[in-house]
């Protein structure tokens, strides 16, 4: 069977599974729509959280990023896992004890302020929409490469599927579909990794192959990689040229941002008990770690495979580079997507792939008769092209396509759901039309989800210029706005309404302003985005950390000089700190 047919079968079967689950798990109350009736087993919730969390960026882009960044890619590995320790220990159990439906609802109640709630809703909607646009782009890439359909058709199909299970099933439908999606994506991710690890090192476990010797060389994989890439003028794989403070700040911003992302937090509202919220975070990280410890091995192996495919002999030897006409089929296939480009700059019909930005090496390259780097590879294709590079059977490639779509759809659904619940529950029921019945609220939630899907689809089709920067934006904002107010709401009884609102606004405005002025989002670039211009040497990706600190400082200072929170709020804080007790009656 040819690849396209197999891919249609794999993707089609996975879609049928998701729709089947949606019909089985239809939500009939707001409790089921918002938090799956708080009846989800902690291990199952862990799995759903893993799928919710691991987006198209984790599945499609991350290993490729690491392949080209080497040690520098560690910020994503630590940053996107370490946040679960914060979630488990600082947020999830207390928010579950509080037992409401949304993150802004907790903020509004704890700070006895409608303003605080609305500011939180604005942060949430902004974070979630920037994030969801990236997912839709992922769906588009997979569809256009593997199913050879127009981007618009691909998007429409993806939106249709999410529509069915998110609008009908609400959180309940999303939860059980995410479990299925996790299974699809983890199998799709690990199978090619196992094959490639075995081919390269004889050890099938990627995490161990990563530290094994490469077949036929007796050289450790990372040592070999270091020497091959430095020979071509690239930076040593196990080092970085980023400053330590920037690596530190980015890692911290990603960790704290993870813990402040509403679509992740809300997953812990769906388990029955406080202790389930704790263990569920542990299970989530187990399921995430399966992919996240595989990804750096995949990245290193992909880089090695790519480099050795092109550089077949000694560097500088005219015979040492692959002839363009001899290039493998996968390169040819990816050229048609425009994500892989070859330009024969020196007209020798061979592919030179090296770092021409390195002045010393470029001079040496000129002596070899090389006229510049001739191959550009979009990092987003590394994972998707991996099975083809390793010449794995077509069904593996089809599975990877289904996995990529699963990763994108599961995250998109989680995001769309928090957007719709904050509109129907926080804005309508909680603020503007408090008299609506449960049935009306449920309908509003469904309409909200449907509208959000349409906007997400539009953003996926017409990506605003900043889609590539969503990481910086979404995480920076979550770190600077939502995370600090939630933490202070639990760990301090003294932070009050005025402090929280001022803190959130300062954190938000500072972080947005910084990212916008360096990256030119919505406005022209105000300051050139180079390390010399950064505040404390911290790049826009890591600036959320400074925003977070400002938020804490402002909130504590303002709270000091304004009136203490009322007595019942202080009691509320005491209640959420203890799993059982006076405040246990908060189950709808």
């Amino acid at each position: 069977m040819d690849l396209t047919t197999l891919t249609y079968i794999a993707v089609g079967l996975s879609f049928a599974l998701y729709i089947g689950i949606a019909i089985w798990a239809k939500a009939s109350t707001t409790g089921e729509f918002y938090v799956a009736g708080k009846g989800v087993n902690p291990v199952i919730n862990g799995m759903a959280t893993a799928a919710d969390w691991m987006s198209a960026a984790s599945f499609i882009s991350m290993a490729g990023l690491i392949a080209f960044l080497g040690y520098g890619g560690s910020v994503y590995l630590m940053g996107w896992t370490g946040g679960y320790c914060l979630l488990a220990m600082l947020l999830a159990p207390y928010l579950r004890k509080y037992g409401k439906f949304t993150v802004p609802e907790f903020i509004g109640d704890r700070y006895y302020s409608r303003t605080a709630r609305i500011v939180a809703v604005i942060c949430l909607i902004f974070i979630s929409f920037t994030y969801v646009a990236g997912q839709m782009r992922g769906v588009g890439i997979v569809f256009s490469r593997f199913l050879e359909v127009e981007l618009l058709t691909g998007l429409a199909v993806g939106m249709g599927i999410v529509f069915i299970y998110a609008v009908l099933g609400g959180m309940k439908g999303v939860t059980y579909t995410q479990v299925a999606q996790y299974c699809v994506l983890i199998v799709a991710y690990t199978i090619p990794a196992i094959f490639i690890a075995f081919q390269l090192t004889g050890n099938p476990i990627p995490q161990l192959a990563f530290g094994s010797t490469v077949n036929g060389t007796g050289e450790f994989m990372l040592d070999r990689l270091n020497h091959i890439v430095t020979e071509l003028g690239f930076l040593e794989y196990t080092t970085t040229n980023k400053s330590t403070i920037d690596i530190f700040a980015i890692t911290l911003a990603l960790m704290v941002g993870t813990a402040g992302l509403p679509h992740v937090i809300v997953r812990f509202f769906t388990v029955p008990k406080v202790r389930d919220a704790r263990s569920s975070a542990g299970w989530a990280l187990v399921f995430i770690a399966l992919l996240y410890t595989t990804a750096p091995a995949v990245g290193a192996m992909a880089r090695l495979n790519l480099t050795e495919t092109v550089q077949i002999g000694a560097v500088g030897d005219p015979e040492g580079n692959l002839k363009f006409e001899d290039r493998p089929d996968w390169m040819e296939r990816w050229e048609s997507t425009g994500l892989l480009k070859y330009e024969d700059k020196n007209g020798d019909g061979r592919i030179q792939y090296y770092n021409d930005a390195n002045a010393d090496f470029a001079a040496k390259a000129a002596e070899y008769g090389w006229a510049g780097n001739e191959l550009s590879v979009d990092r987003d294709i590394m994972v998707l092209a991996n099975p083809e590079i390793a010449q794995l059977p077509n069904w593996v490639i089809a599975l990877v396509a289904a996995g990529g779509i699963a990763a994108a759809l599961s995250t998109a659904a989680g995001l769309l759901l928090v957007i719709s619940s904050s509109v129907s529950h926080d804005l309508l029921k909680g603020t503007f039309t408090p008299n609506m019945t449960e049935k009306q609220e449920l309908m509003a939630g469904r309409i909200g989800a449907a509208v959000a899907i349409l906007i997400a689809g539009y953003l996926g089709y017409n990506p605003p210029g900043f889609v590539a920067q969503v990481v910086a934006f979404a995480f920076g904002l979550a770190a600077a706005s939502l995370f600090p107010v939630i933490i202070m709401g639990i760990f301090s009884k003294k932070v009050n309404r005025e402090g929280a609102v001022a803190g959130m606004l300062v954190g938000l405005v500072f972080t947005m302003g910084y990212i916008m002025s360096y990256k030119g989002i919505f406005i022209p670039v105000l300051i050139e985005n180079v390390p010399e211009n950064w505040l404390f040497g911290i790049s826009p990706e890591g600036i959320g950390v400074v925003g977070m600190m400002l938020n804490f400082i402002v909130a504590f200072s303002v709270s000091k000089v304004t009136a203490e929170p009322p007595e019942h709020i202080q009691r509320l804080v005491e209640d959420i700190r203890v799993p059982k007790g006076a405040g246990a009656a908060v189950d709808h």
Binding site: S74, M78, G82, A88, G211, V286, F491, G581
Partner: protein, 86 residues
């Protein structure tokens, strides 16, 4: 806050603080701040600092959460605040 709850909270905060110190040391310490020093140590085919940054810290994170879960469950029982057992 009654004395019992205050004592429970204090133990909880202390446990979390201890675990987060370890969390910080393995990731920010071993993986970032002291990565160069640790990289001079070879460990099973890896430079040790690099291994912590791309593998080791993630394993430690998982372990930390399960230690937290076990210790908190014990603490809940000790203070009689575990849900559903009266």
């Amino acid at each position: 806050m009654d004395e019992q709850s205050a004592a429970y909270w204090k133990r909880n905060v202390k446990l979390v603080a201890t675990l987060l110190v370890i969390w910080f040391v393995v990731s920010y310490g071993f993986g970032i701040l002291f990565v160069d020093a640790l990289n001079s140590i070879e460990f099973a085919g890896f430079e040790l600092g690099f291994w912590f940054a791309q593998q080791g810290s993630i394993y430690v994170f998982v372990a930390l959460i399960f230690v937290y879960v076990a210790k908190m469950n014990k603490l809940d029982r000790e203070f009689g605040v575990r849900e559903d057992d009266d």
